[in-house]
Amino acid sequence: MRREVPLLIVFLFGLFMIVQYFIPHAKFAFWYQEFNNWTIIIGIFTMIVGIGSLLSVHYSKIRFRQEGWGYSLVTIVALFGMAIVGLLGGTEGDLFLKLYRFGLSPVTATMFSLLAFFIASAAYRAFRARNVISTLLLAAAVVVMLGRVPIGEILGGWLPRWLQLPNIADFLLNVPNVAAKRAIYIGVGLGVAAVSLKIILGIERTWLGGDGGKR
């Protein structure tokens, strides 16, 4: 029963989700919305489980003075600090907003800003001309980058229109690039359909934990 009941629930709800896609009637739309609301409610309750896990991990680090336990202390203080300030003053309260604007936002923005440097280092490695394919990649990247900036227009301005860098860049982006993207999209679409079918039919059961109760 521990396996059969979840499998039956998944089968029924999976079937409903397929059927409702083809039935626009308000009765089906209502139940579709209801089920989505249930998902949100369950998700909110699982946050309690998540916070429990977070506290458990960091509490044990502090307790046993593991390496970096100070960071764990900061995490727990920040978690409860923000929660208490939010509960007492509301999420529109002055202190809460200050903590958010001058504490969390700059830290998040800093992490995001690091991406620029990581892109530079990743591009350096990706664009090394090691073989024919990577040389092609390098050439395409140079053309697309130059074709996207004003100097690209100047560089090839004397060439016939179809040989000018912006036009070649557009061609590379709109023809081979889109063709490859669509090929992946088609594969992903079929893959999603196949996995969904396997889950609904109970062939794919890993989500139940372990090997899904296969004997």
Partner: protein, 395 residues
């Protein structure tokens, strides 16, 4: 006295005449207003909106002909609604003259509604045309999605046929995928180096197919981890995903007969904020120095930040995602990448179960079919027969 007798009626007539002047003037103005009223729209038709949940009617009309519009150009139309043909009508919206239809929603299914459409110009309004009754209703089948239904049915039949065939003992050939073959080697490397394995299930929820595929690969990784007696760390973005990952890893330990070795603190929740999560995972990489990093599931802007940090910390990296935009980042930094459908196919490759391989073959057949349909569509569209291609353009 005679003069007085004459003057009195004259005065009365004068008063009457004066009092009649405004009315007469008003009549003259009214007559001229009737003459310059905007021309009416015609053919006001009300119909139920097709393929909708109900409660919506579509009103369509035709503007006056060009001759009438040349005589008096109209500015727009007013739409009135009533439950009776004879009114009273309530103004529900005013539209510019370029609008030729209007969708009226939030109506009661099964009730009759009448619409009056008037033309407006220079602050004046035509008499308007009242439509026949329209009755809104919800549909029980979206006809625009018929092609999808046919494809779903055909695909399901194909997949089930292959599954039955596989159960019957038919041996399918499946193309090897380097990223999946590398999974076992990467776990072996971690064991040799005595360092843990980091498994990042991405930012997706448990409802995302990519995350479900990530569970499958985690099950395999966890099984090998128990076998080689090493350690797997799974930091999570979503608490539901965390609960499932905990269950997957716990089951792997239990099925290997070593439930006491499972540490729930290795599969934990961090936060549901994208970059704080990234920062925390980066911290794990730099502190724990995992020998192997797995990135399986849905990733967004954090993909490169994670993979570059993993590269700097000297880990072997295997990524798998269906997020097209992130694939180039993973390809440039990771050692092996499962692109798009390869991530979904991983469960079939890893389990080698006949019925899983059956669906894989159905996918392959589906791709061949799509390629054939694309070729047919291109040829027919090129010779001007675009109906075939348009049939697949569903709402």
């Amino acid at each position: 006295m005679d003069r007085v007798k004459f003057l009195i009626p004259t005065f009365i007539l004068f008063i009457i005449a004066i009092s009649c002047v405004p009315a007469a003037a008003a009549d003259i103005v009214a007559d001229s207003a009737i003459a310059i009223l905007p021309p009416n729209v015609s053919d006001v038709i009300v119909s139920d909106k097709p393929n909708d949940p109900g409660g919506t009617l579509v009103v369509e009309w035709i503007l006056p002909d060009s001759a009438a519009l040349a005589a008096m150009p109209i500015k727009g139309v007013n739409i009135y609604l009533s439950g009776n043909h004879d009114g009273p009508f309530e103004l529900i919206t005013s539209l510019p003259k370029s609008a030729l239809h209007y969708e009226c929603s939030d109506l009661q299914d099964g009730e009759s509604y009448y619409f009056k459409v008037t033309a407006t110009a220079n602050g004046l309004e035509s008499d308007g045309i009242t439509s026949a009754a329209g009755i809104p209703s919800g549909q029980w089948f979206n006809t625009e999605r018929l092609p999808i239904l046919i494809v779903v049915i055909l695909f399901s039949i194909t997949a089930i046929t292959f599954i039955i065939k596989a159960r019957g003992g038919y041996d399918f050939y499946v193309r090897p995928i380097a990223g999946i073959k590398a999974v076992d080697e990467a776990i072996g490397r971690a064991t040799e180096m005595g360092r843990p394995i980091l498994y990042v299930p991405g930012l997706g929820s448990a409802a995302d197919v990519a995350t479900i595929a990530a569970f499958t690969i985690l099950a395999r990784v966890a099984k090998k981890v128990v076998e080689y007696n090493t350690r797997v760390i799974v930091p999570n973005y979503d608490p539901v995903v965390m609960a499932i990952c905990q269950e997957v890893v716990k089951e792997a330990y239990a099925s290997a007969g070593k439930p006491e070795l499972y540490d729930p603190k290795d599969v934990y929740f961090i936060t549901q904020d994208q970059f704080p999560y990234t920062a925390a995972v980066n911290g794990v990489m730099l502190r724990e120095k995992p020998a192997t990093n797995f990135y399986m599931g849905m990733f967004y802007a954090e993909s490169l930040v994670l993979a570059e940090t993993g590269f700097v910390s000297g880990s072997i990296q295997i990524a798998g995602t269906d997020q097209l935009v992130q694939i180039p980042f993973f390809v440039s930094v990771c050692d092996f990448v499962l692109m798009g459908e390869e991530l979904y196919a991983a469960s079939a490759y890893l389990s080698r179960e006949p019925q899983q391989l059956g669906t894989l073959k159905a996918q392959d057949l589906g791709k061949v079919t799509v390629v054939i349909l694309i070729i047919i569509g291109v040829i027919l569209s090129t010779i001007g027969m675009s109906g075939f291609a348009n049939w697949f353009n569903v709402g």
